[in-house]
Subunit: 239 residues, 2 copies
DNA sequence: GCTAATTTGTTCGTATGTATA
DNA sequence: CTATACATACGAACAAATTAG
């Protein structure tokens, strides 16, 4: 309260000192216990915890109950190409991974304003909704929600369940090929239900990809919303 | 403490009840004060604060000192097209915004392993680093760090400072045109120094775009790392 | 395998600071 | 100027998970 305050809160100054001690290498892998840090910096343990919390939110630290607080090594991210022929199965096989798509849930819904505009269909039209989990080498890569016009693809759910591939399921409906028209990318905090499937901590970040696939006549085939763990994936656009 | 505990912490149960009261419309715009919520849910004010904190981290709530805690309306995101001719000034003018680029910082650095590979230059080569802030209609859109080969573009800093445009600055070096070779997109929690420039709360999410621009002979012109506020922007890929 | 020590997580209490109405 | 409301900070105790012995 009296020591060179300069208007910065204590927990922020503690966070800066911890960050510096990592940057200069004096702390490499594991942080000293909270009680020790509290004593070293002459603050309450709560104040240390507030500082650690903010650094953990940045992704720099990771706390494990009963074990300690650790410095996160920045992990190399798996590249996920985005382009006119974006398909999950092709993407992962190209990187020597064994792909797998699993159906989480399916239901029939009615098109709301947004979906009707995206799929160019009447408001209230029947749509098949497929929630799928994509896994490669045992690691969950993405959770996706796809909407398909139900009249055109009545058996999409069964076909996907049998093949584990959207491309295959659409081919069985007599659609030999389709292409990606548009992809919109943003990011959010993970939704709790997605966190379970992606095996992520509850405050992780996911990349959101909202995409439209169309057939050869530019008719919308599916509206797709995919969620990728941001710390494991990057989306690559090559032109 | 005794009511159907089922192993979930109190602050999490409080968070769920607050989330539910927003979902069912019983709370529309502003939350009751923390003290009142603490009394209503029979917990300490700290526990309410922990719950609010987690919902704020999700982006659902926003606390303002002295005013109260408010429900965040999901804001429509500004579209940022990504393609072979991605340029900031063209992107924003197309949406009726007045663009502005401001130089935050500049320095000369030596190429490390990663930069040398990206820019296809020898390790240790001199690079001009430009940190710039992009603003449209008073709202900060992105912070970018660009690396340019210093031998080829010796006056890049001055030219950018005078024109406020990378395209213009490169044109003055006799480079009439360039194109985007590759864009890699991921997301992270905002770095504190970026949070200041982007006017973001310290635990916000930013979209990260790592890109390479090349000239007509496919020689790398710049390596660019841009950070966009994820709650205000989406990157759009049209093919 | 069991126990005790260690370490982080949660929850209460209390007080004070600071911005807003 | 006063009251309100969120932010910071200290102290104390116990719970829960892990590790050391």
């Amino acid at each position: 309260m009296n020591d060179a305050d300069e208007g910065v809160t204590r927990w922020r100054r503690v966070a800066d000192r911890i960050r510096a001690s990592i940057a200069d290498g004096s702390v490499a892998e594991q942080l000293p216990p909270e009680t020790e840090l509290a004593e070293r910096y002459s603050v309450n343990r709560h104040t240390v915890r507030r500082a650690i919390q903010s650094l953990a939110a940045e992704g720099l630290l990771r706390s494990e109950r009963g074990r300690g607080t650790f410095v996160n090594a920045p992990a190399p991210r798996l590249a996920y190409p985005v382009g006119p022929r974006t398909r999950f199965s092709e993407n992962v096989t190209a990187q020597g991974q064994r792909p797998a798509g699993r159906l989480i849930r399916s239901e029939t819904v009615r098109a709301d304003q947004a979906l009707a505009a995206l799929l160019n269909c009447p408001l209230g039209a029947a749509l098949a909704r497929l929630d799928t989990l994509s896994v490669a080498s045992g690691l969950p890569l993405s959770v996706s929600t796809g909407y398909f016009p139900a009249d055109r693809f009545p058996n999409i759910v069964r076909n996907y369940a049998e093949t584990g591939s959207i491309t295959e399921a659409l081919a069985r409906h007599g659609l030999p090929d389709y292409r990606r028209l548009e992809t919109r990318i943003t990011a959010e905090r993970v939704h709790p239900s997605d966190a379970v499937h992606l095996d992520l901590p509850p405050d992780s970040i996911v990349l959101i990809s909202n995409a439209i696939d169309v057939d050869a006549e530019d008719r919308p085939v599916q509206a797709l919303r995919s969620r990728f763990p941001a710390d494991r994936m990057e989306l690559v656009i090559r032109l």
